[in-house]
Protein backbone atom coordinates (compact mmCIF):
# COMPACT_ATOMS: atom_id res chain seq x y z
CA UNK A 1 0.00 0.00 0.00
CA UNK A 2 1.14 3.57 -0.67
CA UNK A 3 1.22 6.05 2.20
CA UNK A 4 -2.00 7.59 0.92
CA UNK A 5 -3.67 4.17 0.77
CA UNK A 6 -2.56 3.43 4.30
CA UNK A 7 -3.89 6.81 5.47
CA UNK A 8 -7.24 6.12 3.78
CA UNK A 9 -7.39 2.72 5.50
CA UNK A 10 -6.63 4.33 8.86
CA UNK A 11 -9.32 6.98 8.37
CA UNK A 12 -11.75 4.26 7.36
CA UNK A 13 -10.95 2.21 10.47
CA UNK A 14 -10.86 5.01 13.00
CA UNK A 15 -13.93 6.85 11.73
CA UNK A 16 -15.94 3.80 10.67
CA UNK A 17 -16.26 4.98 7.06
CA UNK A 18 -17.51 2.65 4.35
CA UNK A 19 -14.95 1.37 1.88
CA UNK A 20 -16.72 3.30 -0.89
CA UNK A 21 -16.57 6.55 1.04
CA UNK A 22 -12.94 6.04 2.02
CA UNK A 23 -12.05 5.45 -1.64
CA UNK A 24 -13.40 8.89 -2.61
CA UNK A 25 -10.98 10.68 -0.27
CA UNK A 26 -8.38 12.61 -2.23
CA UNK A 27 -5.86 15.36 -1.56
CA UNK A 28 -8.53 18.07 -1.58
CA UNK A 29 -10.93 16.34 0.81
CA UNK A 30 -11.40 18.55 3.88
CA UNK A 31 -10.96 16.73 7.18
CA UNK A 32 -11.13 18.40 10.60
CA UNK A 33 -14.18 20.62 10.88
CA UNK A 34 -15.72 19.22 7.69
CA UNK A 35 -15.93 15.48 8.31
CA UNK A 36 -18.51 15.00 11.09
CA UNK A 37 -16.99 11.75 12.38
CA UNK A 38 -13.63 13.43 12.94
CA UNK A 39 -14.21 15.07 16.30
CA UNK A 40 -11.39 15.85 18.71
CA UNK A 41 -11.61 12.44 20.38
CA UNK A 42 -11.40 10.70 17.02
CA UNK A 43 -8.32 12.79 16.24
CA UNK A 44 -6.63 11.18 19.27
CA UNK A 45 -7.23 7.69 17.85
CA UNK A 46 -6.30 8.79 14.35
CA UNK A 47 -2.91 10.13 15.44
CA UNK A 48 -2.07 7.02 17.45
CA UNK A 49 -3.02 4.71 14.57
CA UNK A 50 -0.89 6.79 12.19
CA UNK A 51 2.05 6.53 14.57
CA UNK A 52 1.66 2.77 14.96
CA UNK A 53 1.05 1.85 11.34
CA UNK A 54 3.36 4.35 9.66
CA UNK A 55 6.14 4.21 12.24
CA UNK A 56 6.44 7.88 13.08
CA UNK A 57 6.14 9.87 16.29
CA UNK A 58 3.85 12.90 16.37
CA UNK A 59 4.46 15.54 19.05
CA UNK A 60 1.46 17.24 20.61
CA UNK A 61 2.63 20.67 19.42
CA UNK A 62 2.73 19.46 15.81
CA UNK A 63 -0.99 18.76 15.82
CA UNK A 64 -3.15 21.58 14.61
CA UNK A 65 -5.81 22.70 12.22
CA UNK A 66 -3.33 23.12 9.39
CA UNK A 67 -2.08 19.54 9.51
CA UNK A 68 -5.63 18.17 9.59
CA UNK A 69 -7.19 20.67 7.19
CA UNK A 70 -7.27 18.34 4.20
CA UNK A 71 -6.23 14.81 3.35
CA UNK A 72 -3.44 16.33 1.27
CA UNK A 73 -2.06 18.30 4.22
CA UNK A 74 -2.19 15.24 6.49
CA UNK A 75 -0.47 13.16 3.84
CA UNK A 76 2.22 15.82 3.35
CA UNK A 77 2.83 15.94 7.10
CA UNK A 78 3.23 12.17 7.34
CA UNK A 79 5.50 11.99 4.30
CA UNK A 80 7.63 14.81 5.72
CA UNK A 81 7.96 12.92 8.98
CA UNK A 82 9.07 9.83 7.11
CA UNK A 83 11.56 11.84 5.07
CA UNK A 84 9.80 11.06 1.78
Amino acid sequence: MTIDDQLRAILRDVLGLSADRAATIDAGTPLFGAMPELDSMAVAGLLTEIEDRLHILIEDDEVGGEMLETFGSLSAFVKGKRGE
Binding site: A9, D13, S40, M41, V43, G45, D60
Partner: protein, 220 residues
Protein backbone atom coordinates in the same frame (compact mmCIF):
# COMPACT_ATOMS: atom_id res chain seq x y z
CA UNK B 1 -27.67 -19.94 22.70
CA UNK B 2 -28.06 -22.68 25.30
CA UNK B 3 -29.94 -20.46 27.76
CA UNK B 4 -27.26 -20.82 30.43
CA UNK B 5 -25.41 -17.73 31.44
CA UNK B 6 -21.73 -17.60 32.30
CA UNK B 7 -20.46 -18.89 35.66
CA UNK B 8 -18.90 -16.43 38.07
CA UNK B 9 -15.53 -17.40 39.57
CA UNK B 10 -13.12 -15.56 41.78
CA UNK B 11 -9.36 -15.66 41.48
CA UNK B 12 -6.39 -13.89 43.09
CA UNK B 13 -8.08 -12.97 46.37
CA UNK B 14 -11.51 -11.92 45.27
CA UNK B 15 -10.97 -10.77 41.71
CA UNK B 16 -13.81 -11.46 39.28
CA UNK B 17 -13.79 -13.93 36.40
CA UNK B 18 -16.58 -15.11 34.10
CA UNK B 19 -16.44 -18.60 32.63
CA UNK B 20 -18.38 -19.82 29.63
CA UNK B 21 -18.89 -23.27 28.19
CA UNK B 22 -17.67 -26.76 29.00
CA UNK B 23 -14.83 -27.74 31.33
CA UNK B 24 -13.73 -30.45 28.94
CA UNK B 25 -12.33 -29.70 25.52
CA UNK B 26 -10.12 -26.75 24.62
CA UNK B 27 -9.89 -23.95 27.17
CA UNK B 28 -9.17 -20.30 26.44
CA UNK B 29 -8.13 -17.61 28.90
CA UNK B 30 -8.99 -14.13 27.60
CA UNK B 31 -6.73 -11.18 28.41
CA UNK B 32 -8.94 -8.25 27.60
CA UNK B 33 -7.88 -4.89 26.14
CA UNK B 34 -6.73 -2.24 28.59
CA UNK B 35 -8.37 1.04 29.65
CA UNK B 36 -11.11 2.51 27.45
CA UNK B 37 -10.59 -0.16 24.79
CA UNK B 38 -11.89 -2.73 27.26
CA UNK B 39 -15.24 -0.94 27.50
CA UNK B 40 -15.49 -0.54 23.76
CA UNK B 41 -14.84 -4.25 23.12
CA UNK B 42 -16.69 -5.77 26.04
CA UNK B 43 -20.04 -6.33 24.36
CA UNK B 44 -18.41 -8.02 21.38
CA UNK B 45 -16.17 -10.13 23.61
CA UNK B 46 -19.05 -11.36 25.77
CA UNK B 47 -20.99 -12.25 22.64
CA UNK B 48 -17.98 -14.05 21.15
CA UNK B 49 -17.41 -15.97 24.41
CA UNK B 50 -20.97 -17.27 24.34
CA UNK B 51 -20.63 -18.32 20.72
CA UNK B 52 -17.37 -20.16 21.44
CA UNK B 53 -18.96 -21.89 24.44
CA UNK B 54 -21.80 -23.13 22.26
CA UNK B 55 -19.20 -24.67 19.98
CA UNK B 56 -17.60 -26.63 22.80
CA UNK B 57 -14.79 -24.29 23.84
CA UNK B 58 -14.38 -23.30 27.50
CA UNK B 59 -13.70 -19.58 27.80
CA UNK B 60 -12.45 -17.78 30.92
CA UNK B 61 -12.55 -14.00 31.08
CA UNK B 62 -10.99 -12.40 34.17
CA UNK B 63 -11.32 -8.73 34.99
CA UNK B 64 -7.80 -7.64 35.88
CA UNK B 65 -7.28 -5.90 39.23
CA UNK B 66 -8.36 -2.27 38.98
CA UNK B 67 -10.52 -2.91 35.89
CA UNK B 68 -14.10 -3.97 35.20
CA UNK B 69 -15.71 -5.52 38.28
CA UNK B 70 -12.53 -5.41 40.38
CA UNK B 71 -12.88 -3.83 43.81
CA UNK B 72 -9.35 -2.45 43.69
CA UNK B 73 -8.70 1.11 42.51
CA UNK B 74 -6.69 1.42 39.31
CA UNK B 75 -4.31 3.96 40.86
CA UNK B 76 -3.08 1.31 43.31
CA UNK B 77 -2.15 -1.14 40.56
CA UNK B 78 1.42 -1.80 39.46
CA UNK B 79 2.42 -3.74 36.34
CA UNK B 80 3.34 -6.86 38.30
CA UNK B 81 -0.20 -7.03 39.73
CA UNK B 82 -1.53 -7.70 36.25
CA UNK B 83 1.04 -10.41 35.48
CA UNK B 84 0.32 -12.06 38.82
CA UNK B 85 -3.42 -11.84 38.15
CA UNK B 86 -3.11 -13.45 34.72
CA UNK B 87 -1.05 -16.23 36.30
CA UNK B 88 -3.60 -16.72 39.08
CA UNK B 89 -6.46 -16.83 36.58
CA UNK B 90 -4.58 -19.48 34.63
CA UNK B 91 -4.15 -21.53 37.80
CA UNK B 92 -7.91 -21.47 38.35
CA UNK B 93 -8.48 -22.72 34.80
CA UNK B 94 -6.00 -25.58 35.33
CA UNK B 95 -7.59 -26.54 38.64
CA UNK B 96 -11.11 -26.43 37.26
CA UNK B 97 -10.46 -28.18 33.97
CA UNK B 98 -7.15 -30.03 34.19
CA UNK B 99 -6.19 -28.31 30.91
CA UNK B 100 -3.54 -25.75 29.99
CA UNK B 101 -5.42 -22.77 28.54
CA UNK B 102 -4.49 -21.06 25.31
CA UNK B 103 -4.43 -17.28 25.61
CA UNK B 104 -6.70 -14.99 23.60
CA UNK B 105 -5.04 -11.61 24.03
CA UNK B 106 -6.64 -8.53 22.57
CA UNK B 107 -4.79 -5.25 21.98
CA UNK B 108 -2.94 -4.32 25.21
CA UNK B 109 -3.75 -7.74 26.64
CA UNK B 110 -0.94 -9.03 24.42
CA UNK B 111 1.53 -7.28 26.72
CA UNK B 112 0.66 -9.71 29.52
CA UNK B 113 0.69 -13.23 28.04
CA UNK B 114 4.40 -13.96 28.61
CA UNK B 115 6.23 -15.48 30.42
CA UNK B 116 3.51 -17.47 32.18
CA UNK B 117 1.86 -18.86 29.05
CA UNK B 118 3.25 -20.13 25.77
CA UNK B 119 0.42 -20.36 23.26
CA UNK B 120 -1.39 -17.17 22.27
CA UNK B 121 -3.75 -15.81 19.69
CA UNK B 122 -3.18 -12.06 19.64
CA UNK B 123 -5.73 -9.74 18.04
CA UNK B 124 -4.21 -6.43 16.93
CA UNK B 125 -1.48 -6.42 19.58
CA UNK B 126 -0.25 -2.97 20.52
CA UNK B 127 2.51 -1.39 22.58
CA UNK B 128 2.23 0.20 26.00
CA UNK B 129 3.59 3.43 24.54
CA UNK B 130 0.73 3.55 22.06
CA UNK B 131 -1.86 3.03 24.82
CA UNK B 132 -0.31 5.81 26.87
CA UNK B 133 -0.34 8.13 23.83
CA UNK B 134 -4.03 7.42 23.38
CA UNK B 135 -4.77 8.19 27.02
CA UNK B 136 -2.78 11.42 26.89
CA UNK B 137 -4.40 12.60 23.65
CA UNK B 138 -7.88 11.70 24.84
CA UNK B 139 -7.25 13.77 27.97
CA UNK B 140 -6.05 16.72 25.90
CA UNK B 141 -9.03 16.41 23.57
CA UNK B 142 -11.55 16.29 26.40
CA UNK B 143 -9.86 19.09 28.32
CA UNK B 144 -9.14 16.85 31.30
CA UNK B 145 -5.90 16.65 33.22
CA UNK B 146 -3.34 14.56 31.29
CA UNK B 147 -2.25 13.06 34.63
CA UNK B 148 -5.76 11.65 35.03
CA UNK B 149 -6.78 11.00 31.45
CA UNK B 150 -10.44 10.25 30.82
CA UNK B 151 -10.92 9.18 34.42
CA UNK B 152 -8.02 6.73 34.37
CA UNK B 153 -5.58 7.48 37.15
CA UNK B 154 -2.49 5.32 36.76
CA UNK B 155 0.29 4.86 39.28
CA UNK B 156 3.67 6.27 38.25
CA UNK B 157 5.00 2.74 38.38
CA UNK B 158 2.36 1.47 35.96
CA UNK B 159 3.01 4.33 33.54
CA UNK B 160 6.74 3.66 33.62
CA UNK B 161 6.27 -0.05 32.94
CA UNK B 162 3.73 0.56 30.17
CA UNK B 163 6.02 3.04 28.43
CA UNK B 164 8.49 0.27 27.67
CA UNK B 165 6.07 -2.62 27.25
CA UNK B 166 5.96 -4.48 23.91
CA UNK B 167 4.30 -7.81 23.08
CA UNK B 168 6.90 -10.50 23.77
CA UNK B 169 8.17 -12.13 20.56
CA UNK B 170 8.81 -15.63 21.91
CA UNK B 171 6.32 -18.46 22.09
CA UNK B 172 3.67 -20.06 19.94
CA UNK B 173 1.91 -16.95 18.64
CA UNK B 174 -0.82 -16.45 16.06
CA UNK B 175 -1.07 -12.73 15.35
CA UNK B 176 -4.26 -11.53 13.71
CA UNK B 177 -4.78 -8.04 12.33
CA UNK B 178 -7.46 -6.35 10.29
CA UNK B 179 -7.08 -6.50 6.53
CA UNK B 180 -6.82 -2.69 6.47
CA UNK B 181 -3.75 -2.84 8.75
CA UNK B 182 -0.60 -3.84 6.88
CA UNK B 183 1.67 -4.41 9.88
CA UNK B 184 3.10 -7.93 10.17
CA UNK B 185 0.52 -10.61 10.98
CA UNK B 186 -0.02 -14.34 10.51
CA UNK B 187 -3.65 -13.94 9.52
CA UNK B 188 -5.87 -11.04 8.52
CA UNK B 189 -9.61 -10.66 8.94
CA UNK B 190 -12.08 -8.29 7.34
CA UNK B 191 -13.55 -6.36 10.19
CA UNK B 192 -13.85 -3.14 12.12
CA UNK B 193 -11.56 -1.99 14.94
CA UNK B 194 -14.24 -1.85 17.63
CA UNK B 195 -11.58 -0.68 20.09
CA UNK B 196 -11.56 2.60 18.13
CA UNK B 197 -15.30 3.23 18.24
CA UNK B 198 -16.47 6.03 20.54
CA UNK B 199 -19.25 3.81 21.92
CA UNK B 200 -19.28 0.07 22.69
CA UNK B 201 -20.39 -1.75 19.57
CA UNK B 202 -20.99 -5.16 18.10
CA UNK B 203 -20.25 -5.77 14.45
CA UNK B 204 -21.49 -9.18 13.38
CA UNK B 205 -19.08 -9.73 10.45
CA UNK B 206 -16.10 -8.80 12.64
CA UNK B 207 -17.28 -11.09 15.40
CA UNK B 208 -17.94 -14.00 13.02
CA UNK B 209 -14.52 -13.65 11.42
CA UNK B 210 -12.84 -13.57 14.81
CA UNK B 211 -14.77 -16.59 16.10
CA UNK B 212 -13.84 -18.55 13.02
CA UNK B 213 -10.13 -17.80 13.56
CA UNK B 214 -10.33 -18.65 17.26
CA UNK B 215 -12.09 -21.96 16.60
CA UNK B 216 -9.53 -23.16 14.09
CA UNK B 217 -6.74 -22.09 16.45
CA UNK B 218 -8.32 -23.65 19.56
CA UNK B 219 -9.19 -26.93 17.84
CA UNK B 220 -6.29 -27.61 15.50
Amino acid sequence: MNGRGPRVHTYAEGEFMLAYGPRNGPQILVIQPLFEELNRCRAMLASACRALAERGVGVWMPDLPGTGESLRALDTIVWKDWFDAVGAAGSVVREETGSEPGILAIRGGALLDRPLFWRSLRLSPTSGRSLLSDLRRSALASGSDPAHPAGYTLSASLVEALAGAEPAPEGDILTIRLSTDDRPADRRIDGQPLWRRPEPAIDIPTEQALISEILSWARP
